[in-house]
Chain length 448, copies 2
């Protein structure tokens, strides 16, 4: 055993742990939730080497120095599958719905990222904010400028984060100063893929903004890139707002519906992530299910822009199951916190007469999101062999939460479900005591 | 001038100030908003004695010690016109819509208030939470137990708060342990009015829970109490949820609609406040307008229970103007913060295709709420002669807000509007640096 204690790359964490071993939308929660009221997580060189109850593992790791988080709940690092890095500074911009909001706020803000120094500055704050909120993986849109992706990946690699990002491709229906061309977008994207994809924990997403701002030529180019590099992602927007759907289908009159535009250009596959999907038809749901694509459910954005209410029960139905992950969609989304995002997801479901339990919501922000990114063998759970990204939550972080959650660590799943729900409804960045990336402390609240 | 300095009851506060002199739903915002980027507020014995720009007043009060809040915005104390005190501990209870939620969570929780010691304990925490969030006046439902009102008023008078509250009247469709009778509710309410109404800053509200839980005899008794005590308030629920409306009108088959039930018993007047009003018909809107009654708009509750979306533009239309105030509706509402409540109000409006500006939202939580309670001559603005309840806000309270609001104190109304909106969307209890009641510090964030 003394070999363990002298192994400096080994770390032990003791606390309550919660993660998922299956999908609570398809099997009973008791079959999908893994809860250890007193657990031990062993990390070696950033990878989970062992995980189980403290009672079971304590003898084996008895001489290993252990970081104990009393009255804390540790969950896998949160995963945000749709967020706009440059929009951080315009979060909470007033008064518009989607298309007007792009014109009035988004494009002028994204223009500033033509300046690499400025992009670097915002990017640093952006990653600070992700970690303050316990988010360890994100699927990110940069701007049309290739340098904006450089800033993003440079900072992500400095922090050792698992990040997927891409340069926005946009060659029409946008101001001159934010337009590329089909050809430049091909070359810039190709260069970025060659330089960054697969480097450290990074991956690239081919990122046409949406059908409205790309010519058919550009969407064809995006399809070609996916052919050339079959393990990169496709990341775009789909069917958010009624007017957007009308405009998109007008621009592609030969296509039968919005999704069909992306289908025509070979953009709908197992590594494709579509943000929103609020206005999807039954046929589109079926085809997304068959293709194995994922939808990013962005509830604070649904409510803030008034675009409509995503039908999560339909997307997660047994008939046409679709991979779904939760996402903030900052800056149309109003919070970096995946807890607050889960709270809005509950509201969206309620307004549709649906029920989204705390466990289902958390699944969508951890293992469900990892599956949406085909990364469930690396992140999203405490499975042995996964990367040790995790978040330490304080169920009693504010006076109101302390009153509401009188017992910090519940003993039954039912009590845990109630408590987790209260943490979602009342929680914010203060609920995150600490964030670990590959077993290293990346953020800690003062006093923790 | 030395007489001023030696007058210990005189206090001066210097900061940026924002309040309303008129209703921004009916006149231009530039005509209704009063903004002093550098203002001075003079308080004497808890009453506003003078208010104006620092430049204008500084000579007159030059030898008065002044509390200066740099980079802070002072607004009138926030007013919450519908909140359930006993429901604090069940805030964020999972999964139900209105009627089931009452059965499953509310009634068991309210039962605990039969124990005065328990009620005292929760009441203290409740008022702590109000002040942490900058709320200085609230219209409160206690429980069916007369002692619950005693707890509430005892604590309110200790803190010198302007509070309106009442014992819930409920003599059917509720568990035995929470039912009164028409006769006991009459006597208990009468005793409480005699003891508390008009004492200090307190006022009483006759509070039948809603038509469903009161017999015709009890609503008639409520009407009699309003006749006997014409300056008390009437506070109840109206037209929140579709099933509730059906059930209420079934229980009162002689009445033409939900509002007509309350009309029949003389409960619809200028001092009546109805919570919700989500499902109101055009006729009901018209009659509420003519009667001069008020509606409590409870957006976090609308979204959390999925009851529907209040039509604020209709209620504030020029044709059928109705007094409207913002309200948390804790525990169906999910936050004590009137800033977060205003954020949800914006979302509700967006989903209806309406626009609720930051100024309009703040109006509904200050002067608009004061008007809903017929208290605009006492609270809700910095008018001279009013009581000096106010809140010191920090526009840069979190790292994200600091980045978003790069300038703490804007110079133009347009900039202020954008900044206030970001404070509403991103703000929470941390945005409140300090809360003053009658010119005395009642809450201050540590470090402030």
């Amino acid at each position: 055993m003394s070999t363990l204690a002298s192994n400096l790359s080994l770390k032990a964490f003791r606390a309550a742990f919660l993660d998922f071993t299956d999908d609570p939308f398809y099997v009973a929660e008791s079959e999908s939730v893994r809860y250890l009221a007193d657990g031990l997580l062993i990390v070696e060189n950033g990878i989970i080497r062992d995980f189980g109850t403290y009672d079971k593992l304590k003898a084996q790791y008895s001489d290993l120095p252990t970081t104990t988080y009393r009255d804390r709940l540790i969950i896998p690092g949160l995963i945000d599958i749709h967020i706009h890095l440059p929009q951080m500074e315009m979060i909470g911009a007033y008064g518009e719905q989607l298309l007007e909001w792009l014109e009035k706020y988004t494009f002028p803000t994204e223009r500033k990222f033509g300046d690499k120094d400025y992009a670097d500055k915002v990017t640093k704050l952006f990653f600070d904010e992700l970690l303050r909120n316990g988010t360890t993986t994100a699927l990110i849109l940069a701007t049309v400028h290739p340098d904006s992706v450089e800033s993003c990946f440079e900072e992500a690699i400095r922090r050792n984060l698992r990040i997927i990002a891409g340069k926005v491709m946009m060659d029409r229906n946008a101001p001159d100063f934010l337009r590329d061309t089909a050809q430049t977008s091909y070359q810039d994207t190709k260069n970025l893929i060659e330089k960054w994809h697969g480097k450290g924990r990074l991956a690239y997403a081919v990122t046409p903004r949406f059908a409205i701002t790309s010519t058919p030529e550009q969407l064809a180019i995006a399809g070609e890139l996916l052919q050339e590099y079959p393990d990169v992602y496709l990341h775009t927007h789909l069917s958010e707002n009624v007017k957007e759907v009308e405009l998109a289908t007008q621009l592609y009159p030969a296509c039968t519906d919005y999704l069909n535009i992306y289908e025509q250009y070979g953009l709908v596959g197992q590594r494709s992530i579509f943000a929103h999907g609020i206005q999807l038809t039954d046929s589109e749901f079926e085809r997304l299910s068959r293709a194995g694509s994922a939808i990013a459910f962005c509830p604070t954005s649904n409510l803030f822009l008034g675009s409509g209410l995503f039908n999560v029960d339909k997307a997660k139905s047994a008939e046409t199951p679709i991979k779904v992950g939760l996402a903030t969609d900052v800056g149309a989304g109003t919070s970096f916190s995946m807890l607050q995002t889960a709270s809005s997801a509950y509201q969206v479901a309620q307004l549709r007469g649906q029920r989204l339990s705390a466990f289902k919501a958390l699944f969508l922000a951890t293992l469900g999101a990892a599956k949406s990114l085909s990364l469930e063998d690396k992140i999203g759970s405490f499975n042995i062999g996964n990367e040790a990204d995790f978040v330490v939550l304080d169920p009693r972080a504010t006076p109101l939460m302390a009153f509401r959650n009188s017992i910090a660590i519940p003993s039954t799943l039912e009590e845990l479900s109630e408590q987790l729900f209260a943490m979602i409804i009342l929680g914010d960045d203060r609920t995150v005591s600490a964030t670990y990336v590959m077993g290293d402390l990346a953020y800690g609240r003062s006093g923790e």
